[in-house]
Symmetry: C2
Subunit: 539 residues, 2 copies
């Protein structure tokens, strides 16, 4: 059994490694007193979110170990890059991917130095980070990605830390409702952990400043069983035990609602309480780098040293810089390590899509220009057969336009996914359906991204007029793909396919009420190695 002592040791180690990444060029084990030349010339990174992220990692590891639970981790506040890197390094997967960053003092020095440094690693969670499918950067998509990863992975739990700032974004606010399209048996489970550290950049967050009773109603209204946890190992451990029992009950059909956790921690927890006479820990001032003058200000330098020593590194790492067994006791084995899960390197799991011969769907033309046929109706029949041939690895997403896009042949073989009330007049609605329809282009895109990044296939059908809604998401995904191509261990994932319909230049009905056709412009400014555009011959 892992005790909270072990968890605490792991947590302290991860925090130590995170602070080291933000500040240190050298002297990684603090074997000598900190001197200005050990400090990076330009301090970058986000400390505030980090201790919460590491806290959750540490506790989930115990669950994985005890229950053999298949799990991945999505860090909504992906600006907490140091936390994810620290975790991967402690689990050994960092050194497996990057042998030069070995699990010893030399590797630790490299780990610290490379962070947010010219030629080094990004300050945000990125494709470079083992165990990640979720880019840090533009916030709002973590929970949609989490659900996308959970679909058709019945044994998987996707732990998803949602920042309370991130929770203010529109895409995140609607993502909670993804549970209405989740199939309890065929899909996995998403465990949202709302990280209520109270602040975004310079402001408090809305969800941290409404009465707790209101917050709990909100979560219940979204269809979850909320559990509030304070900044305490004991509370977190006990709650996770309950939560995973509830998940098991849900999977066995003994519970109708899945749990979620509201985790209250002080922002920048365990960091400096006060700097230059101003409160830092537990305020917005902890968001980025709490001590900014470390190289020039001896007082700041001393505070940094005291802060890092407060984790008692000598108890956590041996003289060679290797994490001691007490720290690693809760670390799972092999692919159960969240930083080494094949689900987070979806290309490893990717099986080619089984495609029927497209020639068989050709429209017979007896006399030229005598008959007409609807191209998307023909495509619908093809997609129907794609779905039938790939019953667990292909999904069709759309904001309720699948029928009006004339793809309805798909309903001959499948339904729309639905896990809420059904009435006698409904058609093609059932749990487990391969068609995902919700009036949110953000959810369609986010689910599909999560689904693809975990090694599956899909198509998003959308009116061209409204696809601009996901311009920014598309950009972020394209960036992920581009960066991944340069990372040898990232296996290629399936393409993100769009079918744009109801084009702006053939719009009798909605006409100018709809948007401009510029999505192609947004797409075409990417490299051909990342995107391809196919237009019909008469476009």
């Amino acid at each position: 059994m892992t005790t909270t002592r072990t968890i605490d040791a792991y947590w302290r180690a991860a925090n130590y490694l995170s602070v080291g990444q933000i500040y240190l060029l050298d002297n990684p084990l603090l074997t000598e007193p900190l001197r200005p030349e050990h400090i990076k010339p330009r301090l970058l990174g986000h400390w505030g979110t980090t201790p919460g992220l590491t806290f959750v990692f540490a506790h989930l590891n115990r669950i994985i170990g005890e229950r053999g639970q298949n799990m991945i981790y999505i860090a909504g506040p992906g600006h907490g890059g140091p936390a994810a890197v620290a975790h991967a390094w402690l689990e050994g997967s960092y050194s497996e991917r990057y042998p030069e960053v070995s699990q010893d003092v030399e590797g630790m020095r490299r780990l610290f130095r490379q962070f947010s440094f010219p030629g080094g690693v990004p300050s945000h969670v990125a494709p470079e980070t083992p165990g990640s499918i979720h880019e840090g950067g533009e916030l709002g998509y973590s929970l949609a990605h989490a659900y996308g990863a959970a679909f058709d992975n019945p044994d998987l739990v996707v732990a998803c830390v949602v920042g309370d700032g991130e929770a203010e974004t529109g895409p995140l606010a609607t993502s909670w409702h993804s549970n209405k399209l989740l199939d309890p048996y065929r899909d996995g489970v998403v465990l949202p952990i709302l990280h209520l550290n109270g602040y975004k950049i310079a402001n408090p967050t809305v969800l941290a400043r409404i009465p707790e009773a209101e917050l709990l109603k909100l979560m219940e209204g979204y269809g979850y069983r909320p559990h509030v946890v304070g900044p305490s190992h004991e509370e977190m451990a006990a709650t996770l035990d309950t939560v995973f029992d509830e998940i098991a009950a849900y999977k066995e059909g003994r519970a109708g609602r899945l749990p979620m956790i509201v985790l209250r921690t002080p922002k920048g927890w365990t960091g400096p309480r006060e700097v230059d006479g101003l409160p830092v820990e537990g305020t917005w001032r902890a968001h980025q780098v709490p001590l900014s003058g470390v190289r020039d200000n001896p007082e700041h330098l001393a505070m940094l040293e005291a802060w890092m020593r407060s984790y008692r590194p000598e108890e956590l790492f041996d003289a060679d810089g290797r994490p001691v067994p007490a720290v690693l006791r809760a670390v799972p084995e092999g692919p159960l390590r969240m930083s080494a899960s094949p689900h987070a390197n979806g290309g490893e799991l990717l099986a080619p899509l089984r495609l029927p011969d497209f020639r068989e769907y050709a429209v017979q033309v007896k006399t030229p220009a005598a008959e007409s046929s609807e191209p998307t109706r023909v495509l619908g029949a093809f997609l129907r057969d794609v779905i039938a041939a790939n019953p667990h690895t292909f999904r069709l997403m759309g904001p309720d336009e699948t029928a009006s896009n004339r793809l309805q042949a798909v309903f001959e073989t499948t339904t729309r996914a639905w896990n809420a009330g059904i009435e006698p007049t409904d058609e093609h609605l059932a749990a487990g359906g391969r068609v995902m329809e919700v009036l949110s282009e953000h959810l369609c895109q986010g689910w599909l991204e999560g689904y693809l990044l975990t090694g599956r296939h899909g198509l998003f059908n959308c009116y061209e007029a409204f696809v601009h809604i996901i311009d920014a998401m598309f950009n972020q995904h394209a960036k992920w793909l581009e960066a991944s191509k340069r990372i040898p261990w990232r296996r290629p994932v399936a393409s993100l396919n769009y079918l744009l319909s109801s084009h702006v230049w053939r719009q009798d009905h909605n006409g100018f009420s709809h948007q401009d056709p510029g999505f192609l412009d947004v797409v075409l400014n990417k490299k051909a190695s990342v995107v391809r555009v196919y237009l019909p011959p008469d476009a």
Copy 2:
């Protein structure tokens, strides 16, 4: 006193006029039996949402009349264009704006014929529609627009119908939280009316298929007092009385939470029950045009005639086609008519922004290339003085980047708007602040659009990397501006100003973790009469 009889008469008249717009070319008063040649050759429009929209209009008019309440109406399901046009025609404002569409039989014929017809009016709510500030088309922004309109309009109530489909979008899902930035005294009130007609295009909606108790928790979690109303005049009237008493109590500081209404109606209410053996009223089949074969299918033609006659037009319009007094009894006078409110033609209320002389903020350069200064810090001082000079008509929006964009001088004269918990360590946070910060670019953009369209001024400051998030919103707003320029009675509104910072080409820190700079591409494909881009001399 207006009775529910009067309300019902108005409602029937509005429904009759809506159906007429969708179907009829001629014979507007049904003075002769309907014949195929009275029917439009191509049937377009959205019936399903219409009876709910007209129901709400009819009931709100009573409140306006009884309480002298200043109110505007935002139709989230703006595809219900016929409802808004019918309302404006009944209130007389349509004929004031478009004298050729007079309030008589000839005008009614024109009204019907022009709808969604070549050279006619759009099928969606648009700038052409009197009383509207909210484009029908891309869904999701109604509630953000409503809050934008309410800010700094202390006597205004903005009634906002939110489609239950629309409610699934991300921007709408987070818009509910706008109440946390509303000032009870200096701002007006938004009354959200969630129109639970159960369906979007071909699917049920999520909010209609979760248990009602869960829906109510969701609304309470968003910080509202929900009231559920069924499809009944009596229920709606009684609830509106309660709701406006609650609003009065809130304005007097006697209530902490504002009300909202959940209105359950059958989709396509009062339309055909069944068509070709399939249920229509109360199902998704009512979404667009329930009877599609009217010109060719005598049975459909007869059903349409029976449907239209079910409103008893002979009781509603006199022989000249003028609405009879019983229909108009509840229609308010002059600018209290929602279709004639100056707030919905904001240019009428627009006062020029008082700007200090920008030369006074010039940075003194003693020796060229010897000193450096931060341009946005200088701009911050300018904006501080703009805010001070325009205390009720200028707001600064941003996703919590105002300080990191170096505009913090504004906090010398104002605060961030906040109407939730405040802690001792908080800074520059108070109700009534002119700076609106929330981690949602959608809300920043939506609030600002609503604020501008009701005749005020503002600036949105945003990292360039993330402004793609509102590409589609920007497009829709640009479209509104472009269409408005061709409508003589639409007075010009103030420009939508962006300050883009943290440019992608000067990004040491977040660097490639952030997005592409293509927002300028999206903007520049609009006409110069609609957009202008200013770049710093060193760009």
